[in-house]
Symmetry: C2
Subunit: 558 residues, 2 copies
Amino acid sequence: MTTADARNQLPLRLLPLGGLGEIGKNMMVVEYGEDIVVIDAGVLFPEVDMPGIDVVIPNMDYLADNAERVRAVLITHGHEDHIGAVPHLLNRLNVPVYAPRMAIELVRQKLRNAGLLADAELNRVAPGEKIRAGDLDVEWFDVTHSIPDACGIAIDTPLGKVVHTGDFKIDHDPMVGEPSDLRQLARISNDGVFLLMSDSTYAEEEGASESDRAVTDGLFGLIAEAPGRVIVSSFASQIARIQIVADAAEAFDRKLVVLGRSMVENTKLARELGHLRIPDGLMISAAEAESLPERRVIVMTTGSQGEPSSGLVRMSRDQHREISIREDDTIILSANTIPGNEVAVNDSINDLVQLGARVVTNRQANTHVSGHARREELRLVLNLTRPQYFVPVHGEFRMLRAHADLAVDQGVAPENSIVLTDGDVLELTSQSAEIVDREVAGHIFVHGLGLWDEAGNVVVERRSLAREGIVTVSLAIDRDNRRIVGEPRLVSMGFVHAADAESLFEDTRDELQPVLERFSNENLEWNELEDLIRATVGRYLTRRTKRRPLVIPVTIDV
Amino acid sequence: MTTADARNQLPLRLLPLGGLGEIGKNMMVVEYGEDIVVIDAGVLFPEVDMPGIDVVIPNMDYLADNAERVRAVLITHGHEDHIGAVPHLLNRLNVPVYAPRMAIELVRQKLRNAGLLADAELNRVAPGEKIRAGDLDVEWFDVTHSIPDACGIAIDTPLGKVVHTGDFKIDHDPMVGEPSDLRQLARISNDGVFLLMSDSTYAEEEGASESDRAVTDGLFGLIAEAPGRVIVSSFASQIARIQIVADAAEAFDRKLVVLGRSMVENTKLARELGHLRIPDGLMISAAEAESLPERRVIVMTTGSQGEPSSGLVRMSRDQHREISIREDDTIILSANTIPGNEVAVNDSINDLVQLGARVVTNRQANTHVSGHARREELRLVLNLTRPQYFVPVHGEFRMLRAHADLAVDQGVAPENSIVLTDGDVLELTSQSAEIVDREVAGHIFVHGLGLWDEAGNVVVERRSLAREGIVTVSLAIDRDNRRIVGEPRLVSMGFVHAADAESLFEDTRDELQPVLERFSNENLEWNELEDLIRATVGRYLTRRTKRRPLVIPVTIDV
């Protein structure tokens, strides 16, 4: 048996790590032999039941434990949910990062802010170019998505090509950047695709996505008829949208004001990379705009998701430093609302209307198209690649399920179309597919310098603090003489009005008296006393208030 | 001047109280002369930033302050957001309640549960019947909504009729109950409508709503092709939906299992009132269903909004006592997702799909129609009533704005089409409309026996507890000798892992030492010591963790 044959016998291993409801979205581990590569390293934004959490990152213990085998981090595109965890990853293992142009610059900014840039090895890759990661050849290919320089990734293994689409849609004539490169994908697929991983976000939606150009008509129409200022809100990374708005500014003799740190930075970066074509003199500052008639101004800012610190939300609360909403302002939300943000978005729209503005969303006009492929485009990619195995990625479970079923309709063998959950280790050979193991996966909550896994009780504690509030019962204890010194003190937060607390807590102290006497008279253990205080106070307060605050006894030795 | 003329000079006063984002939704106060009537007394469900809150009710201080003039509570229909606050209202003032059939029975249940039934004066009213409230004549008229016996209300005043539509749509042939009675509304309007208040929930949506009958085709189609059990989830009060499902059960030779306390109670009530026509023997228990083939069973339950304690959510977590989800179950969500519930609904769908079920929502099939009128129906009511004044009710600000603009398009004078916010006192005469005052309005948060207004710090405290956690610093102090006795004790919740807390808090105690020495050596005031502890500990912990927990000093005199 030759070495090549022996290598041929090795299985490919696939391990999705991290995602929130969405599986394999933020980090996918691909292993062949001694080589591990990581596709994307993203963050998720906390949900409402994760109070105070800044971001959620994948659990990377597996990578840390196998650090000597990790050859590279391969980035598909520059969205936060694909690059946001790169600093956390590089904090634990030093590994080269490969990414297309826009993404590598965003990673660079991120590492600079984290003070990790000096030690990082960052490599910019171009579509069609090959890099080597251990014994694996890796190649990027152009796709279209809602940020420039989005790519899919193809990895050459002895079993055949492993193709990962990244987040994508098919667009033959996008507003910025290159069209989806179907020829390159076809060429890659010619040698036989062993495994396809493909974006499932819109796997339940029939038809095909529209080009971002479709938004042009919608936005141009609204801007043409706007009587005063126009304020367009979108994602900071939506460069194509900024291009449309800049084009509209030029067409309708308006000047463009871009507001918000991230949008200003991304605009600058995209201009440097040649993605944005904005003539000199078109962009002005908010201060300069003040001296122009309102119908000569377009403002572009963030806040399409109702984010509290965004430009639009500040305007809606009349708290923006540079822009005050006026009667004849037209505000265009050029984005879809991400599930979970509906109430925040709704609130800001109501506030803006109350300030007199007209607010247009993509329910009233064509102000947004998505960056994800629908079923017809997913079929196209399945048909072009004809993979032996299919693993849907990027989507909630039901979307993955729909995509896996679609792959079967397109000819993938049912046993080869496999829905994974985070932590599953899938082993693929040319003969068989099997989930052989479960690694530690799941979410790590980040708050300040704190990191907690899901079992970590901090978030659980916060949820119950929020629901019921807390009562602490502090006692000074003379251990030697088994004596309570002074009066117990009860302090609460999030439980009752200060005004009601005094008499309630006085009654509670009375209720506690027999327990304290038992401590002095009987031979109660220390922890028995604490348990008794907790139970007695808890029961009494529940009886009085019909609620169940957390009761925390605190004893001080005096 | 005759008495009648003098009365003619009095203005009508209108005061919306309570709503959450939605104005005038839960309670509208109408005053004429010495008479006050209250239209609806509903609750709102807490939003995500109101942790632990059971429900939100309108601030009723104005009614309590004017109790001797309040003649009646007039209920339009039996939904929680229109009757849920009746017990809270009757707790503060004893006033007769008038409501149509289904609503009065639901109010009765509610008062019985609250132990308030014995003292309550409940009156069932029929459409077309007149009751007298002080000097005012009040008449109910049939409308269609997503609960049987929904009505609008017309109040006869010397200035003309005051018409309140309640929540409504136009349906000429509803599944249950009477069609919207346009003849009665036309007759009422013949005398001249002084003021119209009309449902604005769908005032941004063009066209007309569909009849609930339209859902019949959708549900029948899905049930016809279902290979196994069918589980339909909707609101407990959606009697028309239960009728459709019962009809489908009969048509396809299935038996019907109704699960969930509120749905069972409402089904029983609706059968007693003759709203539901279900043949004997069609309904069986979950236990009886176990002995039938799966394709002979339909289950109807709650949980269309992802409510944690609902039937469907328990099934999705495999925690339902009577139903375990199986491979060939078809689950139909026969409802729209209420804004704010998207994530919960999504999670439960993913869980159900993961258990092997097929889940159909109204995105895939016609499983739901709304109970609210769209613009074409709103025009019809405006055209039929031709009011002098128009006040949009039931909707977020932008919907009210859209409805007010629609009324102007339909011929109401612009200055007579008035958007109010809760607490505004609008005075209307035949000559003029003016907001003359602001009363205390807004939300009261209810948790157990606790009631807090928005300024109440309990909810604010909970939010910060949830975001940052809490650290208490307990000290035993010998006041007379200005001496700290024993060691300070630090206890935290929702802040750091227990494992990390020990060394962090030891360092914090070291940091605190100089402050405690100052207390002993200098002439520090009591509150100065507490402030210093708070500042020192807060600053130190923020430096170490990059977070800002609440720091609460607790001092015990020993």
